[in-house]
């Protein structure tokens, strides 16, 4: 039975002239990772791990929850006609015999996005593949209103968690106060946010002076967001920030991050800062507080997507940071 199911799922031979593959414009496909496919007639899904070196392993999974075992049942090489926008995947079996069919087979891709892929085999129902990942990913926008003169800290966080270990990256603007002979001095710093400030936003105070939008995202959305955050962090460290005014850099970063979440699908409702008189945030708020009101606007537009504290803390364990708990490894 397993052999039959395996052979069926492996014998996707089909070049359908009329079938066209598509993804959204700007959405780059990434096949690397673990995919779960459910072919018609399969009693349980089959797993495919696509490696960067062009090999693919077919696995069966036994057990449940966190205690499961994977067993390799076949191996082949694969090739995409176009790595970032594929229309076909070509498989070549490493060797004959056993359960592997020899030779080259092609699968026609009819649609894909960050986390799903649909392929078609002639005369059959489409086969859906879903990307499988042990981690969960979050992008958090957070800000404090602060004073009219300086504003408050405002930043974004990317969080990757498996429930035990959390990897957190931050970027934004915050302030330090030092006492000088001439009196207190406030410095505005653009860069990674200190842990003590970041930890204050692991819970959603949801007051008039603190705001946040916490989104669970796909692995691809997370990678894009992290890449952008690291790029800006590199700019800050290399003294190549776009503007001399710290607030402008931060606002541009936050808006780029929000837009980037919609690369492959219209997931997040955005507020577009036009920087003109028709923009109620720019027209009515002090530059020092624009980031706060921008994030507040995003929260209002995406309240249904906001991950509430109880769910977030259950997934990440990041609810004891105010009492000095560890945020987990980075």
């Amino acid at each position: 039975m397993k052999t039959a199911i395996f052979l069926i799922s492996w014998t996707f031979i089909f070049l359908v002239a009329n079938a066209t593959a598509f993804g959204q414009k700007g959405c780059e496909f990434n096949i690397i990772g673990m995919w779960e496919s459910a072919s018609p007639g399969e009693s349980k899904p089959t797993l495919y791990r696509f490696e960067p070196n062009g090999t693919v392993k077919v696995l069966s999974r036994s057990g449940s929850g966190q205690k499961f075992q994977e067993q390799e049942i076949a191996r082949a090489t694969y090739k995409l006609d176009s790595p970032k926008a594929p229309k076909t995947i070509e498989f070549t079996s490493a060797g004959g015999g056993g359960i592997l069919a020899k030779g080259t087979t092609s699968v026609e891709i009819i649609e894909y996005d960050d986390a799903k892929l649909t392929a078609i085999k002639h005369g059959s129902e489409p086969i859906r593949w879903v990307k499988v990942d042990p981690y969960r990913y979050f992008v958090v926008f957070a800000a404090r209103l602060g004073s009219l003169r300086y504003g408050g800290p405002s930043f974004a966080m990317t969080i990757k968690t498996d429930g035990r270990q959390n990897r957190i990256n931050t970027f934004g603007v915050y302030f330090t106060e030092t006492q000088t002979i001439a009196g207190p001095r406030t410095d505005k710093i653009v860069g990674a946010i200190p842990d003590e400030i970041r930890n204050e936003f692991m819970s959603d105070a949801n007051t008039g002076s603190d705001t946040m939008l916490r989104l669970e995202v796909t692995p691809a959305e997370f990678e894009r967001s992290l890449r952008l955050l690291q790029g800006w962090d590199g700019r800050a460290r290399g003294h190549h920030l776009l503007y001399e005014v710290p607030y402008l850099n931060n606002i541009v970063f936050l808006e780029e991050l929000a837009k980037g979440l919609n690369n492959c699908s219209e997931r997040v409702r955005l507020y577009k800062l036009t920087w003109d008189v028709d923009d109620h945030i720019i027209a009515e708020q002090n530059l020092t507080q624009v980031a706060f009101y921008y994030i507040k606007e995003l929260r209002q537009l995406n309240e249904s997507l906001h991950v509430k504290d109880d769910k977030f803390h259950e997934i990440t364990g990041l609810n004891n940071l105010r009492r000095g708990g560890a945020a987990g490894g980075q």
Binding site: G231, H239, L242, L248, V252, W275
Partner: protein, 209 residues
């Protein structure tokens, strides 16, 4: 390695014009020319040079074709100075679309002569470079690609002199703007050039009457 080469290597290694803002300002991000050659932005394109830089993109239907045609006249006016002591660079605003091949086609379509480089690269890094050269301090304008094709930035790295000029100005005016960035010439030379320039202005006025 003999002693002469060793001393020359020590003397030239890491040196740059004293007044220059250097790679700390300009960055040494690696771009690609329309000949698909990698170049470091400061070390290969700016260091010790008189650079004339504008922004464009190959699919631009607006000002870019006119700008490129106008700058071609500037290149023709400068004759063999371009690529020798004046260096012209056009950097794409749409690096996702404009790979070296697309830029080469654009350059060939416009009849661009050697010495003028069209450049592309990583979008994030190109934005960083663009902001080093041009900025309104208004994100609404700074991130609108159509706002960045109208001016040409002229930089003389040896004396850290910056100026700029509309890309659609008369070619002669752009050449004059380039000359403003050049090191100050001896008084006698400037006097002779002023006399010649005045004579040209007088002739043009006469013609217009």
């Amino acid at each position: 390695m003999n002693r002469r080469n060793l001393f020359a290597k020590i003397a030239s290694g890491g040196s740059r014009p004293a007044a220059s803002l250097g790679p700390e300002y300009y960055t040494n991000f690696v771009l690609r020319t329309h000949e698909n050659k990698p170049v470091r932005f400061y070390d290969d394109l700016i260091k010790g040079k008189l650079a004339v830089i504008n922004f464009m993109y190959a699919s631009c239907q607006g000002a870019c074709p006119m700008t490129t045609s106008n700058l071609l006249k500037v290149q023709q006016t400068l004759k063999n100075r371009v690529g020798r002591d004046v260096f012209m660079y056009s950097i794409t605003l749409k690096p996702e679309q404009d790979d070296p091949r697309a830029l080469k086609e654009y350059a060939e379509m416009h009849g661009v002569k050697p010495g003028w480089l069209f450049l592309t690269g990583d979008p994030f890094e190109l934005t960083t470079i663009r902001f080093k050269l041009f900025r309104w301090d208004n994100p609404g304008l700074d991130f609108d690609v159509n706002q960045h094709t109208g001016m040409v930035r002229i930089i003389n790295d040896t004396i850290n002199r910056w100026t700029m000029c509309p890309t659609l100005a008369q070619p002669r005016q752009i050449v004059d703007a380039i000359s403003w960035a050049e090191p100050t010439k001896p008084y006698k030379v400037r006097l002779q050039e002023n006399v010649a320039a005045q004579a040209r202005i007088d002739r043009e006025s006469q013609r217009q009457r």
